[in-house]
Amino acid sequence: MKPRAIMHLDMNAFFASVEQRCNPALRNKPIAVIGAQQRTVVTTASYEARAFGVKTGMTIKEAKKHCPHLILVVGDNPKYTDTCVTLTSLFTHYTPIVEVFSIDEAFLDITGSLTLFHNAIHLATLIKKEIKDALGLTCSIGIAPNKLLAKLASNLEKPDGLVEITTEEVPSLLEHLPVKELCGIGPRLEHALAEMGITTCGELGRTSMALLKRRFGIVGEYLHAMGRGIDDSPVIPLEEEALPKSIGHSITLPHDVSQRKVLEQYLLKLAEMVGRRLRRHHLQGRTVTLTIRYRDFTTFTRQFTLTYPIDHSHDIYHTAGKIITTIRLTQAVRLLGVSISQLSPKRVQLPLFREEQKRAIVTTLMDKVNNRYGEFTITWGALLFPFHHYGVISPAWRPEGARKVEYGHRTTKGGCT
């Protein structure tokens, strides 16, 4: 069988690069893109800022300590999500098998395209040129026989890299490569492997599968394969992606909050956001999960499973509210999250009782107005408090389907022609 040719494409310092394209005054300068919330962290740092040690996830204070002349830019999510849509469409000029891995990463199965484009390096060069011409952005591309190695290859040369790993090169490349370089091996797994005396991919590949399975269960089997550079997972195009396991939203509150009344307002807002997404994609769910993060960053979740599926915002709010009443809050709350899981396609059950009928009509009408004029154009009276939730782009965000979230932007109603 012909070996697969998989490409991994990683946009370099994506959000920061987009901002540097937008504003010529920011080019070649250390910048950090931060969230729109009052309490935020660095979401992406430019390569110029990274040279000073500024990293994703740092607080602004920490980042400024590393780079006092760091320029902070408030992120604009619609700009990045639309760029991802443009990129995804551009990739389909080269292959129909495109998997959006995150907002700034994608896998392309180019096995079937090689006869049209001579070879993988030539194809990658064309993609890089098209991205540069259309958007002015650079990317790193890795090409290999599978997704694991393609991702590894794209990490080997940044920014603006192009690396191909051939089947013959795999054993020598992996022999001394630290296990943490493989996608999927995080600090905890790295530590657990180190306790077994495994620090390189070569050692991981030579460790018996039985031993790894005893220690890590089913994951041990994958680890054994990963150590030898084997990965049979397919590139899954957007239209073939499975239904999401859950749909949720969270908010870092502008200030730590102890009053339950205030928390309930945020819960209603989150429930409405979750309910809207469920109804837009004709889904319903049974398990409502509430996430709370305290002032000291202690985070925990509590969930409640209903005997019947729901998609109405008020039902989600009511269930989340029931959960919060069972919790004795020991500190002020920093972050609140609501999600719903055990999803299934919506089944239409005509409401039997008058109150239910009224509620269904009101919900349908509210959805129609909000679909026409934008989110929260018409909403619950309790939500008329001045809080704008611009959101953070989740790693699960996708350019289509139930994983797509439309992020808030500045409104422009009224104007000149």
């Binding site: 619609p78 700009k79 026409r372 934008g374 932007h409 422009t412 009224g414």
Partner: protein, 84 residues
């Protein structure tokens, strides 16, 4: 700097083929600014309305964000940053 509210403005633009829109000049605070460079473009949605955003610079290297709403065929200034 993001403006507190979107300012309706007058814009001269070329609506070309392939659905491309290219703003050429705009009027802001009584004077006409010629657009030197369109540095980035993107789109967003507000309900059914499709919004085209243009990050642009003028002759004085000031940076502006213009937005065109397709439902009302109106232009707005959303942000501006004056060069030092």
């Amino acid at each position: 700097m993001v403006l507190k509210e979107a300012h309706p403005i007058k814009v001269g633009a070329v609506f070309g083929d392939k659905k491309k829109i290219r703003p050429v000049w705009f009027v802001w605070e009584g004077s006409t600014h010629r657009i030197k460079e369109i540095t980035y473009t993107w789109s967003s949605r507000e309900g059914h309305a499709l919004l085209y955003h243009f990050s642009i610079t003028d002759g004085a290297d000031n940076l502006y964000e213009l937005c065109y709403r397709t439902d009302s065929a109106t232009w707005h200034l959303l942000a501006l940053e004056e060069s030092n």
